[in-house]
Every structure is written in C-alpha cells, then in structure tokens.
Amino acid sequence: MQESATLNNSFKSEEYFINMGPQHPATHGVLRLLLTIDGEIIKKVEPDLGYIHRSIEKMCERDSYQQIVHLTDRMDYLSSHINNEAVCLTVENALELEIPDRVKVIRTIIGELTRIASHCLWWGVMGMDVGALTTYFYGFRDREMINDIFEETCGARLTMNYNVPGGLMWDIHPNFIKRVKDFVAHFKTKIPEYNKLLTGNIIFQKRTKGVGVLSKEDAISFGVSGPVARGSGYSCDVRKYHPYSALDKVTFNEVLEADGDTFARYNVRIRELWESLSIIEQLIDNIPDGEHRVKTNAVIKLPKGEFYQKVETARGELGVYIISTGTKNPYRMKFRSPGFSNLSALNHMAVGGKIGDLVATMATLDLVIPDIDR
C-alpha cells in the first residue's frame, strides 16, 4: 500500500501548454488552438484567430453592392451560393424588388445542392479525422457530381457567384434538371451506404457517443446555430422560422437530436441530407417559367436605414447586417458568421475530455476558418 502511495507522489502531474495548429490537419485550415493540458486531459482550449483575416467588412465599405456579393464567396467557401444569396436578399429587400418565382426556386435548389455538397465533404473529413480514411473518397465522389452540375450552370465549381442583386447571372443550363434528377436518384442509394460504412461502425460510435456534450441551454447562450445547435435539441432552423426564397413553398422536417454529443451532431447532418433531397425533389419538376433576373440600376443605392437578413448556410445562421446612409456603398456591413459563434462553444465542450475527443468534437463543429476570420 505504502509503496503505491509513494509512487503516486513521485509522479505528480503538471499542467502545460501545447499548440494545435495553425497547420494541424484536424483544424481544417489555419486555426491555432492553445491547449492547456494535464496529462491528456484538456483543461482549457483557447483559439487564436486571424491567420487569414482579410477584413471583408472593411472592404465592403468601399465596394458597390454587386462587388460585395463576390467577397462573400470567400467567407464560408463551402456554402458560397448561400452566402451570395444572403447579400442579394438583403439588397433586394432594401430596394423592395419583386423577385420572379423562377429565381427563387432555382436559388433554393442550388442552395440545397450546396448544403449536400458541403455535408458530403464534412462527412468524408469527419471519418478521416477519427481514423476512417475510406469515407473521404466516398464523400468526394458524390460531391464531384454536384460540382459538375454547378460548373455547367454557374461556370464555377466552388465560388459560384451565380447570384446578383435582382436575380441570377444567367439562366440554368438545359441539362440542369436532368442532371439534378440523376444526382438525386444516385445519392438516395448512397446515404444508406454512408450509414453502413461509418454510422454503424462500433469504433466510430465509441469515439463519438458521449463526447463533446453541449446542452440546449448552453447552445442558446453561446449563440450556436445550425446542425450543431440542432444536435442539442435546439430548434433554430432559419429555413423554418424565417423562410426565404422558395423555402415557404416546400415541406420538410427540421432535424433534431436530443443528446447534444458528437454522435447527435453527426446524425443531424446525415438526416439533413434526406431533407435536402426532399426539398430538391419538390422543386425540380416545378421550376416556373419567366425571367431569370429583374433589371436593377447599374449603380445600386440602398435607401437610408438598416437592413438585416438571415439565412441558413450548411454551418448555421448567417446574418447580413447593412447600415446604409443612402450612398452606393454600405456605411457599415457586418456578417454574423455561424462558425464564429460555434467556435466560441468549443472550450466549453472540450474541457475534461482528451485530445482525441477534441478532434472528434471539432470535426462535428464543421469549422471553415475563412468563415470565422472573414
């Protein structure tokens, strides 16, 4: 007995710092985390940001509203279409423009395709973060199909710039409807494959269940949104509460999971894939005829006042806040990015866990660093 007591005394643990990032593969970009750890138990996580801050908000103050749309691609590049849409909606609402139904439906379809593409990438990377390399190739295979559809219609695969204030840059490609339908049929057979490969895997479940728990109250207090918040049972889908574009015409379920752990957040995203497919199916056969764009002045001047628009990106609630003094540039432009608020909850979720748990937790936060840094 006594021997073990002296042994314990001679191995005193001590807290120390280590750096995770800014070039760590699990941070998915240039994010640096300062970890205070005791043995392998995390005592504190402090994010150090700003490695790719471009001050988009300051640049907006000298740009025209058409130019601002292009800057927003570079925030959350995996939801670029939805970011563009958010700015366009704010400008259109401020100008009180009547947007054709065709534009609304196409925007919503491409928005949901963007969400699926983003979730595919997240799923692949999530598996890789917890040690299942194969998922990466499966996820990218399906995402590639969506990118091909985007390339044909929008002219770009990632930063699409397909939205302009007043509508869309050009009409959809003649192949668009057929290719989207092909993709939906294809992807319906692939989600069960995803579940077979990763969701049911016992090692994966042990890595994720009960890890990085976030309660509903904390989720609200930390301003968490999107799939992360819905994994904590907090109903916050902007598409439900503040529907925009054609989302008021479709029926879909808001996916909620009660557990608040990493596995719950994982399940929310997987189940959201089905909902996005259902939204696309409801709209793809009913794209109304009409103009793809309404004419706006070459120089857009917003009326004096303040405008706020929120949309649901793949990561959560993106808010666009414009203070206008009536000129062709915004006086102040603020992007409320989902990643920034979601990251603020990381310390709370990671404390008491191990470094390996932190990697799994971060994977389900689905951080995109340019979205945090703006």
């Binding site: 929120k310 808010g319 990251l343």
Partner: protein, 179 residues
C-alpha cells in the same frame, strides 16, 4: 409579441416621473401614450426602417436593461445572434440583435458614446456567453473596452498592432486601397 406590444411593455419599465405626476391620464392613442410615458433620459426608440424594434439605451443603464430583457418572462431574449461595433463618426457604439427562442420576437438594442479616446461599456458576457468572443472582436477592431470582461485582448490582430482598423479614421496608406 409584436413590435408595438414590445414597445409598450419596455416603455413601462422606464416611467417618466413628470408624466406620472400629472393628475388625470389624458386619453391618447396607445402608441403616442408610450412615447409620453417613457423617460427620454433613459431610453429612446429610434426609427431605422428595419423590421426590428430599435431601442437606444444610455451606457450606464445597458447592463441592467439587458439583464431585464433576458430574465423577464414576457420578453425572454435568450439568444444574442449578432453583436456589431459601429463607428458613427462622432460616436462609437454597439448594436445588439436579440431574439427570444420562446416567443420568437426580436429587438435591436443600441448604445453609443461620444468618447473616442477611451470608449467603455459594460460587458454582457455574463448574460449571453457568446458575447465574450463578439466583444473581443469589437475591442480588436474598434478599441471599445468592456468592463467585467474575463479575457479582453486582441482576437484577430497581433497584440502590438497599432490602431483600430474598422474605425472610419483609421489610415494605412500601404495596405488599404481607397477608391
């Protein structure tokens, strides 16, 4: 709750002593009454043409007012979804966008100060924890400090950075392209 109902409720928290001393209540329309009841030294409703109700509070009342917005069961603003620093030229200030997850109504609270040398407000991060990061961002870009903030230091920029880039009078001739 509609914006108008919110306006009347919040007005009742800040009674105007002069108005109360008047003997008989005058028959006026509801909206006009709330304007008269409210004490203009403490609170002011502003018209910004936005979909939200806008309230301007004095810096010294900020924390108490925010706490009441969160804890009052009729308002219950538990979700701070946006916190924005703004440089209005003569004044610096913060805009808080709040939503209630229970009642699904919104409000915008603003606070301003004319002190550009040493602008200070009370922190609200004990009310909404998300404010901790957002206030650090505002400190970083606007140089506004917050009382009772647990960890107020630069978030994006390096500690030795000179000036506050999102202020309107910030000059950087090398890196900024002015059109």
């Amino acid at each position: 709750m509609t914006n108008e109902a919110l306006r009347i409720l919040i007005s009742s928290w800040f009674p105007n002593p002069e108005f109360e001393t008047k003997s008989e209540p005058v028959e006026v329309a509801e909206g006009a009454a709330s304007k008269a009841i409210i004490n203009p030294n403490l609170l002011e409703f502003t018209e910004e043409g936005s979909q939200f109700l806008n309230v301007l509070v004095k810096p010294e009342n900020l924390h108490e007012f925010m706490n009441k917005l969160k804890t009052n069961s009729d308002t219950c603003f538990d979700y701070l979804f946006c916190l924005t620093g703004v440089d209005w030229g003569a004044e610096l200030g913060i805009v808080y966008h709040l939503e209630s997850t229970q009642h699904r109504h919104n409000i915008v609270v603003k606070v301003k100060t004319e002190d550009r040398e040493n602008p200070t407000f009370d922190s609200v991060c004990d009310i909404w924890r998300t404010a901790e990061f957002h206030e650090r961002e505002v400190f970083d870009f606007f140089g506004i400090t917050f009382n009772n903030h647990p960890n107020l230091k630069r978030l994006f920029l390096t500690p030795e950075w000179d000036g506050f880039p999102l202020r309107k009078d910030y000059v950087d001739e090398i890196n900024m392209v002015i059109k």
